[in-house]
């Protein structure tokens, strides 16, 4: 092929320039992509900080609520029981042996109830120690304690093979949600049977708590509740990336299901 020198030179310059523009754009693109990578890393760091702050806030709220529960239980429940024990023992007349025996028996019964209430309060403090052994063991421990009361027929079905490890913060929040639901059943449900299912499928850990108690209208209760309650169960489940569903009808018991991605 014979080409004139001028055309040839122009062609070479053009082609070389075009071939140099290609890597130039590539270098510019890599620079832009790298800047985006930095922005993404910064955003991730901010999100992580926010998440940690929210977890901390939730933990503080849980602690505050625990303290309130302890305070009100000590004042309204254990305090009353001990006052009643005090009054009963004061009213013992040693001359009347039969009546005295009856009152001492009543006082013994009240003291036993106080001890039981104190033990149940003590459980609230144990959460963090229990969860260090794993969620499944902590739930089992809690249910064993409830079983000793002989008030409920307990059914625990654990389908999780081995010991799955969520982050410690997430596990604690999930366990507190479980405790919260269990306390609600004890206080309000008037149930005779409690069933707990722990299941792991499709990268989701599902905790289901069922009771055969009186149930309630979820819409009415959700609107009425303030602070801790059903709304907080939803909020905390969302905080650990999961979701909570509460299914209840008057007279038909309640099903609380918390699903957390693993």
């Amino acid at each position: 092929m014979q080409v004139s020198t001028k055309d040839f030179q122009l062609l070479i310059i053009l082609v070389t320039l075009i071939f140099l523009i290609a890597p130039l754009f590539l270098v510019i693109y890599i620079n832009l992509y790298n800047s985006r990578k930095k922005r993404h890393i910064d955003e991730k760091a901010v999100m992580k900080e926010d998440f940690e702050a929210e977890i901390l806030q939730a933990q503080m709220e849980i602690r505050e609520q625990t303290m309130q529960t302890i305070g009100s239980d000590l004042h309204d429940n254990i305090g009353q029981l001990l006052s009643l024990t005090n009054l009963t023992l004061k009213s013992v007349e040693l001359n009347d042996r039969d009546k005295s025996q009856q009152k001492i028996d009543t006082a013994i019964g009240l003291t036993s109830r106080s001890i039981q209430e104190l033990r149940s309060l003590g459980k609230l403090f144990q959460g963090e120690q229990l969860i260090s052994k794993g969620l499944s063991i902590a739930i089992n421990h809690e249910l064993e304690w409830l079983n000793r009361l002989e008030k409920y027929q307990i059914n625990y079905n654990n389908d999780v093979a081995g010991n799955l490890q969520l982050s410690a913060d997430k596990e604690l929040i999930l366990f507190r949600l479980f405790q919260e639901t269990l306390n609600n059943i004890i206080k309000h449900a008037e149930a005779t049977s409690i069933s707990v299912f722990l299941d792991y499928a499709a990268d989701n850990l599902t905790l289901t708590i069922e009771d055969n108690g009186v149930g309630f209208n979820t819409t009415v209760v959700q609107k009425a509740s303030a602070g801790m309650g059903l709304q907080n169960i939803h909020k905390r489940a969302n905080l650990i990336g999961g979701e909570a569903t509460i299914d209840s009808r008057s007279g038909l018991g309640t099903i609380v299901q918390i699903k957390v991605p693993y």
Binding site: I12, I13, V15, T16, F19, L20, P23, I30, K37
Partner: protein
Amino acid sequence: MNAYLSINILVELICFIIACICLSGDKSTTWKSWIVYLLITCTTEITGKILRHAHDTHLNEFIYNIYILFEAGFTTALLSKILCPYTNAKPVIYGGLSLLILLYIIEIVQHGVYVFNNMTTTVMSVLFVLYGLYYYYLLLKDERYIKLKRHAPFWWVTGIVFFYFGSTVSNLIFSIIVVEDNSDTFRYNIYLSLNILLYSFLSYSFLCRYLQRTSSS
């Protein structure tokens, strides 16, 4: 310029001096070895210039044929070192090097040592461009953020990609098109521009390397 110097040689000498200043204290032997390579480059260019002046083209081409071996060896070694943190590049690098050696031997057998190995040079350029693009791909794939402004391997690879990308095109066009007159001067000017580009990037990368070393110590 006189018989021993040209703009091209001057640019290479400047880059060699910068390499001496910036890389003499470098912990990496591969980076440091580029001082030796640039010395070989300058020596080859000066010798080539003298031989050209004496109209001894055969010896000139023989010298550049030897230089190809150094060029392939030193560039491959540093590319391997740069790719190493991202992937196991040894199979690709050794594969490429084996191909170059094979081509080199074939060309020597075909036309002897006194004719420049064009095919080897063209394939080598293509290989280096591919390695460079592979490095860019690994860099994009990597999740870590790197300050590219002061990242020596990035600028070194950029210099290599620009130079070999441009020279491959010129090599190919010059090999298929026949020009009657003053093509040598024009060809020289194209290579000179590409060389200035290459040695600017290389010098900057050596400077980045130096700054990285001094700021971390």
